[in-house]
Amino acid sequence: MAFISPALLLLLAMSVFPLLWALYLSFTDYSATRGGPAHFIGFGNYTAILASAQVHQRALTTLIYVVGAVTLQTVLGFAIAYLISRRTHGRGLLTTLFLVPMMLSPVVVGLFWRFMLDAQFGVINSMLGSLGLGQVEWLTRQRTALISLIVVDTWQWTPFIMLIALAGLTAVPKYLYEAASIDRASEWFRFRTITLPLVWPLLLIAVLFRAIEAFRLFDLVYILTNGGPGVSTETLSFHVYKVAFLGFNTGTASAYGILMVLVVIVLTQIYLRYLNKLKEG
């Protein structure tokens, strides 16, 4: 098909071919700096990665980050959408204002929060100080650093959930609520039996989308904490980068990457399946 093939060819060249190359490298001991020929080592890279305690720790960090951030975003985003949907005036203005963080580059977001969370002259600690509260080392303590990362990601992506939840909420037919109020149904009952079931399918799409994005996340970690302190905020993405571009173990990094791609493919399949269901339903 003359209209489709140029697009498909570019995708094959820039997405599929590189992944196949990575797949090949993942079975070798190739190093991008050492040069020299690549030796075939079978599943050596894969077994090394799957058995590595370091990788397990990064997987746990990633899991905490993904679950923490996506849960917070969903709860907050849905709550804001619900509050906005109950307003009759100024909805457009409110929605527009709430959407600003989402449109910013992760670089800008990361840099700016890094400045605001600075332990000495950051505005957050300054505000805590004027409230008479203690200072927090947001980005330089192991536990708080991961929490900071979750908070910043939540700040940026709550609007995403809000936007989609709002679309779902405004699409709920008014007559359902009217029928319910004739029946003198309680507010909670209406929320549970009308609002939630109707909005949930769309919300699930948003949640899955965010989960995939959060799993892939690299730039925010790179800017905000650079994986530190220690390795406390190193996600899988960030670890792959270190293995590939600081350790130059290209073969190992490729195997690592292929394993991540497998996870993404599974998540994407679930996402696409729900998307398909939503479109047909």
Partner: protein
Amino acid sequence: MAVSVDEAVSAGPVRDQTRPTRRLGGRGRSVLEIALLTVLAVVMLFPVLWMIETSIKENRDVYAVPAEFFGFTVTMEHFKDVFVAPGGGRSALSVAFLNSAVVAGVSTVLATVLGVPAAWAYSRFAVKARKDQLFFILSTRFMPPVVVVIPIFLMYRQVGLIDSKLGLILIYTAYNLPFTIWMMKGFVDEVPAEYEDAAMLDGYTRLQAFRRHTLPLLVPGIAATAVFALIFSWNEFVFAIFLTSSDSVRTAPPAIAGLIGGTTTDWGLVAAASVVFALPVLVFAYLVRKHLIAGVTLGAVRR
């Protein structure tokens, strides 16, 4: 069923007058909800306001402890530093902004030129395994960039595309293509195929029919899609930082990120550069606010 920000505004004020009388305590609750929304809005917007404030503060005010919210001296020095080098002439940052504009612009045009015909074909013709193809196309966009960049880096090193604008343009085109196809397919679906069929009965070829009848109706959709592609490329960081290194090629995101990392960071300059960088994005995003849901879900969700 198209829900947009605009539509969210247009709900009539009728309900507002009836609610307080219908339910006791309605007004109190309403006040509480408005208060809650206001607090949330302030929390969400504060970092942006703080960034703008920092960009117009003098350095001693930027590092003031406790932080100064009001009553500082306004200066435009940081914005001057973004564009003018200390010794006069153009700054490295301004070159980076220009590179960003070129890379984002050209890759958007390419993605549109490749993506629109493909979207039209997927919408109009009985393509074999259409759904599988479309899902495959979308899933290429979900690949972790850090993983993709490893083989791309090796590939570019082989063919001499490392540290070149062309290399970035190619990868950004591939990155925006899935989005363009999905988003545009939605727009093409909305234009009845009968228009083209009727034109073909009048003796036009399929392509002529598309050009004369469908394309003019698609222009707003193409514009919105291109604006999103522009924003995505403009904001992109991972490919940019790994595939480019020299000042003459580097785009704005890695250049701005490069402002930190030394022994001292000029946060006023970082803030000003961020404001200059983010402003066009916000303006463009405002222009396409009607299509925001489709845009941010890569064209997958449109209701």
